[in-house]
């Protein structure tokens, strides 16, 4: 992707000085009018929606993942990771609060689906808002007393919360203890698509819709008051409060919105794999999601999407090298973070890109 940088730069600011895809992309987007943007967005969404078929041709068959089915990999981990990384990005990337227990919200969503799905007749689509809401509520409840803490202290508390949720799931009868919950029903058909094990495409499209919804939400919030409040809090919380930003309120919003996205992902996940157990919700998952955010570029939606996609897909693609898999994965992380310390697509530098109201 090489654009003519000079063409899109303004005020003599030459973006080609460094390799900066983000600024070039943003400048290009800026130079378009609305119909062009809409057409581009629809085109991209359409192409992404066709991803499940991408490995069907002989040239593209390299995309196929050995052992696991390519279409399943697109749903979990790829789609789910992107979704969760976007949620975590609101907390970590946008408002600068280090959350090491994000998996807790994923678990809360999953167990909501597990318990309600097996004990009541509710369908996944009915449980989805419930699980999302419960995750949001738990984010709020955790946030109220703890968001006065900052930095490392907050990280420790959230880490503890993640473990608490897992341990509660491990030791309660309602959650099936260490055996977890089995026989969780799949989602009921929607738009003529059956949600079964042999039709992962349907799940992918649903995850895609959720991802698009989240991206739309973040973009909306970013250019207005909440986005500015988060940004201010991230940069200097004391000054933010002195400039009139209700810091606790916006930190709570950030935390609970992030939590609700994790919860939504959890509901769908449980409904897809039909079996959940506490050992699926370990600290490892939290760290992996955080790695996706950092790897891709904290605070930048497209960076996070790219980072999560790569970090989710890569381990599946190289599954054939068995034991060396984790080694290669770790090495990739180390090398990339050394070459691009701010992530693949870093947060906006946007000197020249004024935030405009689209109206």
């Amino acid at each position: 992707m090489v654009f003519s940088a000079k063409r899109y730069s303004r005020r003599g600011y030459d973006v080609s000085e460094e390799l900066n895809l983000r600024d070039q992309g943003a400048a290009m987007w800026e130079s378009w009018n609305r119909p062009k943007r809409v057409a581009f967005a629809i085109g991209v969404i359409f192409l992404v929606a066709l991803l499940p078929y991408a490995a069907d041709f002989s040239i593209t068959s390299v995309l196929n993942t050995p052992i696991t089915s390519y279409q399943s990999v697109l749903v979990y981990p790829v789609g789910m990771f992107v979704l969760m990384a976007l949620g975590l990005n609101i907390v970590v990337g946008k408002s600068g609060m280090l959350d090491l227990g994000y998996v807790a919200f994923f678990a809360i969503g999953a167990y909501t689906q597990g318990i309600l799905g097996t004990k009541t007749g509710l369908s996944t689509w009915e449980i989805l808002p419930i699980g999302t809401f419960l995750a949001m509520l738990s984010g709020l409840l955790l946030g109220l007393p703890t968001l006065r803490l900052r930095g490392d202290y907050l990280a420790i508390v959230t880490l503890g919360f993640g473990e608490i949720v897992r341990l509660v799931a491990l030791n309660s009868r309602e959650t099936g203890g260490p055996n977890g919950i089995t026989g969780i029903p799949n989602p009921t058909p929607l738009f003529g698509q059956r949600f079964t094990l042999d039709n992962p495409k349907a799940y992918f499209w649903i995850v895609l819709v959720m991802i698009l919804l989240v991206i739309w939400m973040i973009r909306r919030l970013s250019v207005r008051r909440p986005g500015r409040a988060w940004e201010a809090i991230r940069q200097d919380e004391d000054v933010a409060s002195l400039m009139g930003v209700p810091t606790l309120k916006y930190k709570l919003w950030s935390f609970s919105i992030g939590a609700s996205i994790g919860g939504a992902a959890g509901v769908l996940y449980a409904s897809k794999i039909m079996v959940i157990a506490p050992d699926m919700f370990t600290l490892n998952v939290s760290i992996l999601i955080l790695a996706c955010v950092v790897f891709g570029g904290m605070g930048n939606i497209w960076g996070v999407v790219l980072g999560a996609t790569l970090l989710a897909y890569l381990p599946e693609r190289i599954r054939f090298i068995t034991d060396a898999r984790q080694l290669v994965f770790g090495l990739t992380l180390v090398v990339v973070m050394n070459v691009r310390p701010d992530g693949l697509l870093p947060r906006k530098k946007r000197e020249k890109i004024a935030v405009k109201d689209k109206e």
Partner: protein, 258 residues
């Protein structure tokens, strides 16, 4: 005289065993430029911090338009109409100049998260209005051409100007300026003095901490002198200049005072 916008009564602030402010009485009249001076460590910035809610005073009252504001949250105090700048520039470096001001002006917005998400009519109108106002403020501080540049990339002087613009963005009644001329050359100081007077003409009350005497003597209506957390003078600039207590505080007392 005119009404008091801000009044500190018997304000005491102790940090452990250190008494930073000792029963300070101070008031600022509406529409005046009041200067707060004193040697290093006299407690000037502590006064600002106590007023804006960074510290809760040990004792005393802070009345803003007659109502006590002690114990209120910082953003609440800002919303009431008290804005400040910082001794060391503390901009949001990763935001553009315009966004810096917008962030501050958000304090009076009625629309919040839901409005932003669904682009309600009120949210869009408020956004438009605050954008226009932010541009005006940047022009007023003569940094209109910087609006799209990141805070951290501005030259030092413009960063200081942007801090004032940001503080004005909260639509304050009183603005607290903490050493706005620090690091300025003489020409810039003259320009700053004019700006401060323009700010007053726009109807804002100014409380100013400054070390540059010529600046203070030139523009302030009244000068309050602090030394070791105590008020030692409160008068017109001319009188303060000749006050023996003030001279002693700055230059050391004559030998018989030991």
């Amino acid at each position: 005289m005119s009404e008091k916008v801000l009044e500190l009564k018997n304000l005491t602030m102790k940090f452990g065993g250190v008494t930073a402010l000792n029963a300070v009485n101070l008031h600022v009249n509406k529409g005046e430029i009041c200067a707060l001076i004193g040697p290093n460590g006299a407690g000037k910035t502590t006064v600002f911090n106590v007023i804006t809610g960074v510290y809760t005073p040990t004792d005393g009252e802070i009345l803003f338009n007659g109502a006590n504001i002690i114990g209120k949250k910082r953003h609440h105090i800002t919303g009431l109409g008290i804005a400040r700048t910082f001794q060391n520039v503390r901009l949001f470096g990763e935001m553009t100049a315009l966004e810096n001001v917008l962030t501050a002006s958000d304090v009076h917005k009625k629309s919040g998260l839901v409005g932003a998400l669904f682009g309600t009519r009120r949210a869009r109108r408020e956004e438009r209005e605050s954008r226009d106002r932010a541009h005006e403020l940047l022009e007023f501080m003569e940094i209109g051409h910087r609006s799209d540049q990141l805070g951290k990339n501005l030259p030092y002087g413009d960063q200081r100007r942007l801090e004032i613009a940001r503080a004005l963005g909260t639509e304050p009644q009183i603005i607290l300026l903490d050493e706005p001329a620090a690091g300025f050359n003489p020409a810039e100081k003259v320009a700053l003095a004019k700006t401060i007077q323009k700010i007053r003409e726009k109807g804002y009350t100014v409380l100013l901490i400054e070390h540059d005497m010529s600046l203070i003597m030139g523009i302030s209506d009244r000068v309050v002198v602090l030394d070791f957390g105590q008020k030692i003078a409160d008068a017109a600039p001319k009188e303060v200049q000749n006050d023996p207590n003030v001279i002693a505080a700055y230059l050391g007392a004559p030998s018989d005072a030991s």
